[in-house]
């Protein structure tokens, strides 16, 4: 069904990645506290190169904060995020990571071309290289006919494609997108996913957040989140296999219920052993060694905030 899933399994079977094949993103024990509220807690995961990773979870579960930590605009309270072999937010990454925010962040009172030219200059491009990049991304997001239009006059879908085009200017190795398809009609969503899939085939790693579960079916790997914690980080096929579900939505609900059940049982002071059969199955979702600890916390700690 999915051509690239074989590649994904292959990269996972290599225990210590080679220097040239560092994971696109690796996070360990990431925690973000804002005021008295813990937004992210014990988030540990690895994103291999060249695949589409879907970050899924209900609204307000910390997806945006996690993505902001990856691009380095969110300071972690504790833990560490490594992107393409550098700490997140390092100066070397500023031209290698593209970030598409949830609200399209382009200038509405400029034309598409003016926006792209400015952001290309901000990326340090000059002269013909800049014009080249601008023309290339306009074609990539299919806005050729609207290049001289003011962004404020464009439709919602075109607006977010301008924002995507900006992120593509420097051919990033990692493209981080926060709900790029939210509020778009199904046709536009499909078109965008065609673009994403082409980028992944060209070797770009895509980290895409969404709260629409059917988008998960277009991803190679999934990061399932709930209330600031990761429920699963695995190839999509593994998630389905281990949960015994046919669709991602079902699998997600299954994991949520398992987590809730674990919390409830904890609250009832149930014996820890009672959790083991359940947990053993769920640990299997994590290939990376450090994750077991993080997830044990996720499943066993009574989270009274919920």
């Amino acid at each position: 069904m999915r051509k690239r899933s074989g590649v994904v399994h292959l990269s996972e079977s290599i225990p210590a990645p080679l220097q040239g094949d560092l994971p696109a993103v690796s996070a360990y024990g990431l925690q973000v506290v804002r005021g008295s509220h813990t937004v992210l807690s014990g988030v540990t995961f690895v994103v291999p190169r060249g695949c589409i990773v879907g970050l899924l979870g209900p609204s307000g579960c910390g997806k945006t904060t996690l993505l902001r930590s990856v691009v380095g605009v969110q300071q972690a309270t504790s833990g560490h995020v490594q992107v393409l072999g550098h700490p997140a937010g390092a100066a070397q990454l500023s031209t290698r990571v593209g970030y598409v925010t949830q609200a399209p962040s382009v200038y509405a009172d400029l034309t598409v071309l003016e926006n792209l030219r400015y952001f290309a200059a901000a990326l340090g491009m000059r002269g013909w290289r800049r014009e080249d990049a601008v023309v290339r991304v306009v074609k990539e997001v299919d806005l050729t006919g609207y290049a001289d239009q003011l962004v404020s006059r464009l439709s919602g879908g075109q607006y977010s494609r301008v924002s995507l085009a900006v992120a593509l200017l420097n051919k990033p190795d990692l493209l981080v997108m926060d709900e790029p398809t939210v509020g778009l009609d199904p046709m536009v969503r499909r078109e965008l996913w065609v673009v994403f899939q082409r980028l992944a085939e060209e070797g770009t790693t895509l980290l895409v957040s969404s709260h629409v579960m059917d988008e998960a079916d277009r991803c190679d790997r999934l990061l399932l989140m709930r209330a600031g914690r990761l429920l699963a980080s695995a190839p999509r096929s593994t998630v389905l296999e281990r949960t015994g579900c046919t669709g991602t939505e079902e699998a997600f609900m299954h994991l949520v219920e398992a987590a809730e059940a674990a919390e409830a049982r904890q609250r009832q002071q149930a014996a820890a052993q009672a959790l083991l059969p359940d947990l053993a199955g769920l640990y299997g979702l994590h290939e990376q060694g450090g994750e077991a600890d993080a997830e044990r916390a996720a499943f066993s700690t009574a989270d009274t905030r919920l």
Partner: protein, 253 residues
């Protein structure tokens, strides 16, 4: 070679700063209404002042130059705080900071763009005053232009700084009566500074607008450039630079 190395050592990138300034001017030029207001309001206020003092030419001669240091502060403050606030709230500032853009690039880009507008504004209102309105000052007329420019730079810097603390446009506007109007009251326009209550005159001494008004008074009363004028102008410039650096530092990630 050595020039290239020098450019690399700068705390900002000249090309990105220039691109930012051009982009800001592009945006403003799209908004014809704002541009007209920005350039026209100081002129309108000068005409108003002239009509107000229709029967007392000497008052106009005294106050006219002084307001040259005041109106641009208020107008530029509003324009600068609004547009940088919009940059922050639409997420473009955050996006720029994930790129190889330094905070000083953004702040300086805005400063240069608005300084250009301030120059236009200063030229237009000076020409209006010394021409049709017949404002007669002892010193050379271009000093009025210098004062208007300094006032505009001051307003621009304060606007940039305030937009760091304001969460929305509403708050930014509220900062105007809080931060700019007290300066307006104690700057010496209404009551000479040495006649004020002791503490208040001390407060006036640390407010930058006071020096803009004082410099204007110097230009009005003395032929040629006086030492006090130069000192005041430098004080305002230092103040502008300090406020700009502070606003670059507060441009949050």
């Amino acid at each position: 070679m050595s020039l290239g190395r020098l450019v690399e050592r700068l705390p900002f990138s000249p090309t990105i700063t220039a691109a930012t300034a051009v982009r800001v001017l592009h945006q403003i030029s799209r908004d014809k209404g704002s541009t007209a207001l920005l350039l026209g309001i100081p002129c309108m206020l000068m005409v108003l002042l002239k009509l107000m003092f229709h029967d007392s030419e000497s008052s106009f001669e005294r106050i006219g130059p002084q307001v040259f240091g005041i109106f641009p502060v208020i107008v530029m403050y509003l324009v600068a705080s609004m547009s940088t606030l919009r940059e922050r709230t639409t997420g473009t500032a955050e996006r720029l900071l994930t790129m190889p853009v330094r905070r000083l690039d953004i702040v300086l880009g805005y400063s240069f763009a608005f300084a250009f507008l301030a120059l236009l504004q200063a030229v237009i209102s000076t020409l209006l005053c010394v021409g049709p309105l017949g404002l007669d000052i002892e010193g050379p007329a271009y000093l009025l232009m210098v004062i208007a420019m300094l006032g505009a730079l001051l307003g621009l810097a304060l606007g940039l700084l305030v937009s760091a603390f304001a969460r929305n446009e509403f708050q930014a506007v509220q900062f105007l009566p809080a931060g700019v109007l007290p300066q307006f009251l104690v700057c010496g326009l209404f009551v000479p500074r040495d006649e004020m209550q002791g503490a208040l005159s001390a407060v006036a001494k640390v407010m930058p607008m006071t020096y803009a008004v004082e410099a204007a008074g110097e230009a009005a009363a003395h032929p040629g450039v006086t030492g006090v004028f130069v000192r005041d102008a430098l004080l305002i410039l230092v103040c502008v630079i300090l406020v700009l650096v502070a606003s670059a530092a507060t441009l949050k990630r």
